[in-house]
Symmetry: C2
Subunit: 155 residues, 2 copies
Amino acid sequence: MAKSLSDLHCSVARSLDVIGERWTMLVLRDAFNGLTKFEEFAESLPIARNILAARLKTLVDHGVLEREQYQERPPRYAYHLTKKGADLYPVLIALFNWGDEYLAGSDGPPVLLAHHECDHSAARPESVVVCTGCGEHLAPRDVRRTYRRPRARTR
Amino acid sequence: MAKSLSDLHCSVARSLDVIGERWTMLVLRDAFNGLTKFEEFAESLPIARNILAARLKTLVDHGVLEREQYQERPPRYAYHLTKKGADLYPVLIALFNWGDEYLAGSDGPPVLLAHHECDHSAARPESVVVCTGCGEHLAPRDVRRTYRRPRARTR
């Protein structure tokens, strides 16, 4: 019991160990929206500054964000998504899509996303599961799993 | 401060309010893997039974899982993904892909996924962000946002 997520033999659990803490995905949402400075994140998110600082530190420690000093006196830092961080875009958009679809309420989605270069007015960015071989859209029933170690328990 | 995620004017925050609790995505992982019974989830996940029961109740309350009684004495229940739950597949696979890519360690990914009907040996299911209009793969820079209410703060 009470094992760390990172100890589980599962890529989903290991991902959640890095980005699954409360507020972390909203820090990343803001980073994808172009925010970089501590004060910008603090303005955007309704959390205590020490919590924000802890979340940013975790993301820097795991190489999801990189920290850059942009002012010496007093020291000020900016945070930028690394390649590892930018590769979380499908997670973010999948959460975005699902919230739009099921949790938007009568006033509709809070934010509309659109593809700059696409002229279909109803088009939107969407996270979909595809096969990297044939490009087909996949449902869970289309996918088989192979466990690479003896699996008495999935933990 | 200390606002509920569901109060935020953001679909990502609202999604996390439903599925962002610790262990919830692993309950859903197991549901996608075909587990349905309480005892099966309890066997799979290294968490206390009361925590598991609370997570399952939250998911049922939000219509992500539906509960079905399959035995009367003693009462026993099975949990099945609803359409709303099944639509979380891109979130799960995105977390899976990212963990495989960045957190697998020297022994490689713990579980290999493959598309049943595809004969490319290196192919795998992948969550990607595409435009529903033109089908193009999208990066954050390809996407513009429109806020549907005056936005003094993103919260």
